[in-house]
C-alpha cells in the first residue's frame, strides 16, 4: 500500500482544525518526528519522514484529524515521547504525525478513589512531582522514567522496574479514552465507570488498546492508579562467584512470597565485565565478584523491615555476598540514569567509539534463563567478530510478573552499534543478528518482547509464529476497527489484514 501525498488543501483542512500554530510541514519538524533512540538506519532517514506534524490540544482535535485522514486515506502515526524502542512512533509511509505532547494536563486527582486522570503527553516524573504533595505516586517506573510519556506507555504496554510490587502499565492504567481509526471517541476500561479496576461486563477492551503500537487508535486521556508513597525502601546488592549460583539465588528470592519485593535484577558475568571495563560509576569490586543480583523492596515500615531481614537470610542461604550499603543504596538510586550508556562502546580492537544501544527485551521463563543467556552471547560474539561495529554490553534479567515476581523475566542483552558506520549491508547484518536473538527466545517458549513491542525488522517477521492463531484474530480486529488501514500502516504485518480472501 502506498501512502497518499498530503496536498496543500489537506494542510489547509488541518489548519482549520488546529489553527496554523498546530500544523507543521517544515523539514526539520518532519525529520525530528521520526527518529527513535533504538538503533536507527541513519542512512535511510530521508525515507522515513512524515508529510505533516500536528500538535493537538484535545481529543476532539485528534478525532477531527483522524476523521480527515480516514476520509483521504492518509496514514496517521501517533507520537508521544518518541522514546520507544520498537519504532511504534516512526512513520513507515509518511502521512500525519499526531504528536500529543501538548496534551499533558492533569485533569483530576481523586484522592478518595485513588485515581489521577491525565492527558497522554504527560511524563511520569513530572506527574509525580505534582502528586508528591498528596502523599501518593504513580508507580510506572521504566528506565525511561524521566522522559517517557503516558501515551507511549499505553501504546507499547510498558514494563516497570518496580512492577513486581505495583504492577506494570497495563495494571496501572485503569481506563482510557481512545480515538478510533475512524475518528470516534470511546472510553475503554474493564467495563463501566472510568475509575473501576474490575468489571465483568462485556469484553475486556482495555487490554486490546494496550501495546498496539498505534495501530488501533490514539489514547487521548488515561485514568491512572494512585498508590501511597512508600514509607520505606530497602535495596540490596549481592555478589556471586558464577552465574548459576546467582540464578539459583534469584529464584529463591523471587519465590519467597514477600509482597513488598518490587524488583530483582540479575546481572550476568558479561554485564559485570562490561561495567568493570567501561562504567566510571562502577564501584570497584574484588575479582571474585562475577555476577550481581540487585533487589528492592517498598512498602510501609512494618512490611519492609521484617521482609528485608527475611530477604537477607534467603540471600545468605543461597551463597550471596552482600555488597554493602554504599553500593546497594547508591547504585539502586541511580538505576534510571544508568539506562543510557552510550559512548561506552569499543570496537574489537578496544578503541572507544560512539555507539548506539540496542536493548533486547524478551520475556523468558525462569528455567530457560541460563541457556538463553549462553546462546545470545554466542550470537552477538559471531557478529562482533565478523563486522567490527558491534559490542556486547552484557545481560540483565528483571522480574517481570506483575505482583508475582517468580516465573518469568524480562531478559535484556545490551548490544552496542556504531551507527556512524551503518550502511545497507551492516544494517542488514544487524537485522539478521536481531532475528537470531528473537528466534532463541521463541525456541524456549518465550516471547520476543516483554515491554518494547515487536514491530521492528528482525522481530516482526516472527510475530505470526509467536502469536499462532491469535495473529489471525489480530488481523480481523485491525480490519474491523481500521477499514482503510490508516492507523500506523505497515506495522506488525497488519497489511495482511487487507489481503483478499484466498
Amino acid at each position: 500500500m502506498s501512502s497518499v501525498a498530503i496536498t496543500d488543501p489537506i494542510v489547509g483542512e488541518l489548519q482549520d482544525i488546529l489553527g496554523n500554530e498546530g500544523v507543521f510541514t517544515n523539514k526539520s519538524s518532519l525529520y525530528n518526528r521520526t527518529r527513535v533512540p533504538a538503533p536507527f538506519p541513519v542512512h535511510r532517514w530521508n525515507q522515513l519522514i512524515p508529510d505533516a506534524v500536528v500538535l493537538p490540544r484535545s481529543a476532539e482535535e485528534v478525532s477531527e484529524v483522524v476523521k480527515l485522514a480516514n476520509r483521504h486515506r492518509i496514514p496517521v502515526v501517533a507520537r508521544a515521547g518518541g522514546t520507544g524502542l520498537a519504532d511504534g512512533a516512526l512513520p513507515l509511509r509518511g502521512g500525519i504525525i499526531v504528536d500529543v505532547k501538548l496534551m499533558n494536563g492533569i485533569h483530576e486527582i481523586d484522592l478518595d478513589n485513588r485515581t489521577v486522570t491525565v492527558g497522554p503527553g504527560i511524563n511520569m516524573l513530572k506527574l509525580n512531582e505534582e502528586l508528591r504533595q498528596h502523599g501518593v505516586f504513580y508507580p510506572d517506573d521504566p528506565a525511561s522514567y524521566p522522559c517517557a510519556l503516558v501515551g507511549g506507555r499505553i501504546g507499547t504496554s510498558g514494563w516497570s522496574l518496580i512492577g513486581s510490587r505495583y504492577g506494570h502499565t497495563r495494571d496501572l492504567v485503569i481506563s482510557m479514552q481512545i480515538v478510533l481509526p475512524t475518528g470516534e471517541i470511546v472510553e475503554v476500561g474493564d467495563g463501566g465507570g472510568r475509575k473501576l479496576r474490575k468489571s465483568s461486563t462485556g469484553f475486556q477492551l482495555k487490554h486490546l488498546f494496550m501495546g498496539h503500537q498505534g495501530t488501533l487508535g490514539i489514547a487521548t486521556e488515561a485514568t491512572l492508579e494512585l498508590v501511597p508513597r512508600p514509607e520505606a525502601e530497602f535495596s540490596a546488592f549481592f555478589s556471586y562467584p558464577d552465574y548459576d549460583t546467582a540464578w539459583r539465588s534469584t529464584g529463591a528470592m523471587t519465590k519467597s512470597g514477600l509482597a513488598s519485593l518490587a524488583g530483582v535484577v540479575l546481572f550476568d558475568e558479561k554485564k559485570v565485565d562490561y561495567l568493570r571495563r567501561d562504567d566510571e560509576a562502577y564501584i570497584p569490586q574484588p575479582d571474585n565478584v562475577r555476577c550481581v543480583v540487585a533487589s528492592a523492596m517498598y512498602g510501609t515500615m512494618d512490611e519492609v523491615k521484617p521482609a528485608a531481614k527475611r530477604l537477607m537470610r534467603i540471600a545468605r542461604e543461597t551463597a550471596a555476598n552482600y555488597l554493602g550499603d554504599d553500593v546497594s543504596q547508591g547504585d539502586w538510586a541511580s538505576r534510571h540514569d544508568r539506562y543510557a550508556t552510550p559512548l561506552h562502546g569499543r570496537n574489537p580492537d578496544g578503541q572507544v567509539v560512539p555507539m548506539c544501544w540496542h536493548c533486547e527485551d524478551a520475556a523468558i521463563n525462569y528455567t530457560a534463563l541460563p541457556q538463553v543467556t549462553r546462546e545470545w552471547h554466542a550470537i552477538v560474539d559471531r557478529y562482533i567478530a565478523r563486522y567490527g561495529i558491534f559490542d556486547d554490553w552484557g545481560m540483565f534479567a528483571y522480574t517481570s510478573g506483575a505482583h508475582k515476581p517468580w516465573g518469568d523475566y524480562l531478559v535484556e542483552i545490551d548490544v552496542g552499534i556504531w551507527e556512524q558506520k551503518l550502511n545497507e549491508d551492516t544494517w542488514a547484518a544487524w537485522v539478521s543478528c536481531k532475528r537470531e536473538i528473537a528466534e532463541v527466545a521463541l525456541k524456549y517458549n518465550g516471547s520476543i518482547t516483554a515491554c518494547h513491542g515487536a514491530t521492528r525488522e528482525g522481530d516482526v517477521e516472527l510475530v505470526p509464529g509467536e502469536m499462532g492463531g491469535g495473529f489471525d484474530v489480530m488481523k480481523k480486529i485491525k480490519r474491523a476497527l481500521d477499514p482503510n488501514n490508516v492507523m500506523n500502516p505497515g506495522k506488525y504485518l497488519l497489511d495482511q489484514a487487507y489481503d483478499p480472501e484466498p
Binding site: N26, K27, P37, T83, P146, D279, P342, L343
Partner: protein, 413 residues
C-alpha cells in the same frame, strides 16, 4: 553584507566545515537519544515542540551530515533556547560517561555554533539583528526601548557614590543593571566599600559582548571583548568582579576562547566574593530583613557554573530573613526565560517561562523572590506583580545592602 557574514565562502562550504567540527558531539547525543533533557528544558516545557528539544539540536546536525537538512531548515529551531544548560546536566552522557571519555554534552555550544553559522550564511533573526546593530552602535545593549542607551551615560548609575576609575580590581556592570536596575550596581558598590574592597570602574565600558555571541554574531562579540580587555590592561587590572552571571560566562568562557593563555585575569562573581567577605567577618549584616523569601538559582550560576552554595550562604546570613529554599537540582528545570536572546526574539515564550517560575515561587507562600541575575529580575518582577498575592523580586545584593544598613538608592523596579 553584515560583518559576521563571510565573504568568499559559500553556505555549503561553511556547513560542511561546521558538520565536520560538530558531528561527533552530535552523535554522542543522537546515539543515546533518550531525551532526558526534554522535561527539564524551560522552552520545551512551554512549547512541547520536539524541534525545540535539546536532543533535536544534535539530531539536526546528524541530518545535515546525511544531507537531509540544511542550515536554512533548522535556523529557527535554534532560536528556541535560553542557553540555561539544564539539558547538559540532565544528559546521561554528562552524568555517567563524561569523566571516563572526557566527553560532556555541549548543547549550549552547539546552539551558539548553529546561530553563528546561520548569521555567516546570511540567515538573520529580525529582532536579534536590530538588537545587535543597536548594541554595536551604542556600545551597550538597548535595554530601554525608546530611551537612548548611550556611552556618556554608562556610568550614571554610580552618581554620588564617588567611585574611582581604574585600578587592580574592576567592577564590571552589565547593561541591564547600568541602565535599568541601577539599585543592583549601587548596592554592590556600597557593599564592597563597606567591606574594604578597593575597586574602580572601567574607563570606557562596552557591553561584554556575550549576548551578541549568544545570538550568533561572534565577530562583533569578539571586537567588544578586545575593547574591554584593552581597557582593563590600560588600567592595570588583574581582577574583574562581575555582578551579572551572563558577564561571568562571557569572561570565563568566551574571552578565554578568544584570547587563549593571554587572558590571565581573575574573574570573580559577586556572590562568591560577598559570601567570602561575610565568612571572614569583613562584612557584618545586622539589620533585620523581615521577609519570607525564596532564592532563584540563576541558570548561568547554578547550571552553567555550579555556583549555588554561596548565594544560599548569603541568604542564611541575613538577619531574620525567613528563607524558603528549593534545592539547586530541582531548580535545574527552572528558568526566568531571560537568557540566550529568547526574550528578544520570542518574547511570548520567554514571558510564559517567567510566569511559570513565579507560579512555582507562589506555591511556597513567599513574599519575595531573590535573584542574583539582573536580567532575570525585570521579567520576574513583571510576572510577580500579576500574582494574586504579589511577590516582589529583589536582587541578592540589594538584600545584603539592606541587612548592612546601606542606603543605596537607585531604581529597582
Amino acid at each position: 553584507m553584515a560583518q559576521d557574514q563571510q565573504a568568499g565562502s559559500s553556505g555549503n562550504e561553511l556547513t560542511e566545515e561546521f558538520v565536520k567540527e560538530w558531528r561527533d558531539t552530535a552523535y554522542g547525543c543522537f546515539s543515546s537519544g533518550h531525551k532526558f533533557c526534554r522535561e527539564v528544558c524551560p522552552v520545551m516545557q512551554v512549547t512541547r515542540n520536539e524541534n525545540h528539544s535539546p536532543t533535536a539540536f544534535h539530531a539536526n546536525i546528524v541530518a545535515m551530515e546525511q544531507g537531509g537538512l540544511s542550515v536554512e531548515d533548522v535556523a529557527d529551531d535554534y532560536v528556541h533556547c535560553t542557553q540555561c544548560g539544564a539539558c547538559e546536566l540532565r544528559c546521561p552522557n554528562t552524568l555517567f560517561t563524561g569523566d571516563f571519555y572526557r566527553n560532556r554534552t555541549r548543547t549550549v555550544d552547539v546552539v551558539k555554533a548553529v546561530r553563528s553559522l546561520a548569521v555567516q550564511t546570511g540567515i538573520e533573526q529580525p529582532e536579534w539583528k536590530r538588537w545587535v546593530e543597536l548594541t554595536d552602535e551604542r556600545k551597550s545593549e538597548p535595554v530601554l526601548d525608546g530611551t537612548p542607551v548611550t556611552q556618556e551615560h554608562v556610568r550614571d548609575w554610580a552618581e554620588g557614590l564617588d567611585l574611582p576609575v581604574g585600578g587592580e580590581t574592576i567592577l564590571f556592570c552589565d547593561c541591564e543593571a547600568a541602565f535599568y536596575r541601577t539599585s543592583v550596581p549601587r548596592s554592590t558598590a556600597l557593599i564592597l566599600k563597606a567591606a574594604g574592597v578597593s575597586f574602580g570602574l572601567m574607563q570606557d565600558q562596552w557591553c561584554c559582548g556575550g549576548p551578541m555571541a549568544e545570538m550568533g554574531y561572534t565577530d562583533k562579540a569578539r571586537r567588544f571583548a578586545e575593547h574591554n580587555l584593552a581597557d582593563w590592561r590600560s588600567a592595570g587590572a588583574t581582577r574583574i568582579i562581575t555582578l551579572d552571571p551572563h558577564d561571568y560566562i562571557a569572561f570565563t568562557q568566551d574571552y578565554p576562547a578568544y584570547f587563549g593563555d593571554e587572558f590571565d585575569l581573575e574573574i570573580v562573581h559577586i556572590t562568591e566574593l560577598v559570601a567570602e567577605l561575610i565568612r571572614e567577618g569583613k562584612l557584618s549584616l545586622t539589620k533585620p530583613v523581615l521577609r519570607v523569601a525564596t532564592y532563584h538559582d540563576a541558570c548561568r550560576l547554578n547550571k552553567r557554573k555550579g555556583i549555588y552554595k554561596s548565594p544560599r550562604d548569603i541568604m542564611k546570613a541575613i538577619p531574620e530573613l525567613t528563607f524558603v529554599d528549593v534545592d539547586h537540582v530541582t531548580q535545574w528545570s527552572y528558568c526566568s526565560g531571560a537568557g540566550g536572546g529568547l526574550k528578544v526574539e520570542r518574547p511570548e515564550i520567554a514571558q510564559e517561562i517567567s510566569r511559570r517560575r513565579m507560579a512555582q515561587a507562589a506555591e511556597l507562600g513567599v513574599d519575595t523572590l531573590v535573584s542574583a541575575c539582573p536580567w532575570s529580575e525585570r521579567p520576574l518582577s513583571e510576572r510577580g506583580a500579576e500574582l494574586q498575592d504579589v511577590i516582589e523580586v529583589r536582587d541578592l545584593m540589594e538584600l545584603v545592602a539592606d541587612a548592612a544598613g546601606l542606603d543605596y538608592g537607585g531604581v529597582h523596579v
